[in-house]
């Protein structure tokens, strides 16, 4: 049924699309006599949404595809829109009763229950102060409700989430850079690995927290990361090479 849809989507892979571009689903006049034959549905990532019987592009960017049938728009933006299950770096802005308010860079502050930490009980409250950084995951994120964060996974383990930060530096980069940094085969990451021992916490909301063994090294890495947004790959490699020569 959706084969026409798939082929029209596949034709556009790698092309630049703009908001308002659309793909039309095939009409529903085909009736399946056997109910168990379900048509394959495309998985549409960010930037594509259904509107009536059309698939509409809602972000400008390049159409990407992952087999078997995942499509999404690769776009560059700075404004973070919370999405469920994404991990972000938040700044605790206030404590009120049972919940912390956390700034994640979205349109609204997210709420984080004090019980959503590893090992937290009603008696045993986690030690979280206003101004602390938390690495947390969204459990509720939609356009109608206040986003909600947790610092534990489904089995109650922290798994790297929770309060962190101390001796590090927080910086803001574009969302595209974050994705480039976390991609399975990332050039930036392999370049960074060459430099010196360091630690990164990368939030999908464009915040990166850096720590290295000295303040100087921390600053070098943070400057490099921030410039990566505007550098081309060869320029970046040049920068890294220069640093390696000078620093080591």
């Amino acid at each position: 049924l959706a084969s026409g849809m798939f082929s029209s989507l596949k034709e556009k892979i790698g092309e630049v699309l703009l908001p308002g571009d659309e793909f039309v689903f095939e009409s529903e006049d085909t009736i399946f006599l056997t109910d168990n034959v379900k048509p394959e549905r495309p998985v549409c990532g960010p930037g594509l949404r259904q509107s009536g019987n059309r698939l509409v592009v809602s972000k400008s960017g390049v159409l990407r595809h992952k087999p078997p049938h995942t499509f999404w728009m690769d776009s560059q933006q700075w404004r973070y829109v919370p999405a469920k299950a994404e991990t972000v770096i938040g700044i605790v802005t206030s404590k009120s009763g049972d919940i912390f308010k956390v700034d994640v860079g979205g349109s609204e502050q997210a709420s984080l229950s004090y019980l959503a930490f590893e090992g937290a009980t009603k008696r045993n409250r986690p030690n979280v102060q206003v101004g602390d950084l938390v690495f947390a995951q969204f459990t509720v994120a939609n356009k109608d409700m206040e986003p909600e964060l947790v610092c534990i996974d489904g089995s109650g383990r922290a798994n790297g989430m929770g309060v962190f930060g101390g001796g590090g530096l927080l910086l803001k980069v574009s969302l595209g850079l974050v994705r480039r940094l976390l991609a399975p085969q990332s050039d930036i990451r392999s370049d960074l690995e060459q430099l010196f021992p360091c630690e990164l916490v990368v939030g999908m909301n464009g915040r990166i927290w850096v720590r290295a063994s000295t303040i100087q090294q921390t600053l070098i890495i943070s400057n490099l990361l921030q410039s990566c947004d505007t550098l081309t790959a060869p320029q970046r490699r040049e920068q890294f090479r220069k640093l390696q020569k000078g620093g080591l």
Partner: protein, 157 residues
């Protein structure tokens, strides 16, 4: 006769003890009245019915699954060993397949057979009846205690 001349009030007719004597028609009418009262008391939105449209796509709001992004905690060159352990845990690589093949060769069939060979005796003992089991035990132990008859020893005072 009486029905023609006067009418009982509706509220009276609705009472439980009056239900028996009512004929089908009045009963039906009363029910309808009651239904209308109930539905009048319930609010409803005077809107055209929302068409529940079929979802033709599976929506995925996050980039994570699309681009197979890694977990957001990274440590390079052993700066934070804990995080490096976490990285290995959260970002599974193709090593899983290797593990499977290793698991297959971990215990060979022969080893397994050897192991079960020794198990047969113990399992047999388990399923044997009590009397038989005693016999088995004696088989094992009769070499040690041969014909030492147990006698009651009188305690000394």
């Amino acid at each position: 006769m009486a029905e023609d001349s006067f009418k009982l009030s509706k509220n009276l007719l609705r009472m439980k003890f009056m239900q028996r004597g009512l004929d089908a028609e009045t009963k039906k009418q009363l029910d309808e009245d009651e239904k209308r009262i109930i539905s009048d008391e319930h609010w409803h939105l005077d809107l055209p019915e929302l068409k529940s449209k079929e979802n033709r796509i599976v929506e995925e709001k996050s980039f994570g699954p699309c681009e197979e992004l890694l977990f957001g905690r990274l440590s390079f060159r052993g700066f934070n060993p804990e995080v490096e352990k976490l990285m290995a845990l959260m970002n599974p690589k193709d090593e899983v397949e290797e593990d499977v093949s290793q698991m297959q060769t971990d215990v060979t069939d022969e080893e397994m057979a050897l192991r079960y060979e020794s198990l047969v005796g113990t399992m047999k003992k388990k399923f044997a009846k009590k009397r038989e089991r005693r016999g088995m035990d004696e088989d094992d132990q009769n070499l040690l205690e041969s014909n030492t008859k147990r006698v009651f020893l009188k305690p000394r005072d």
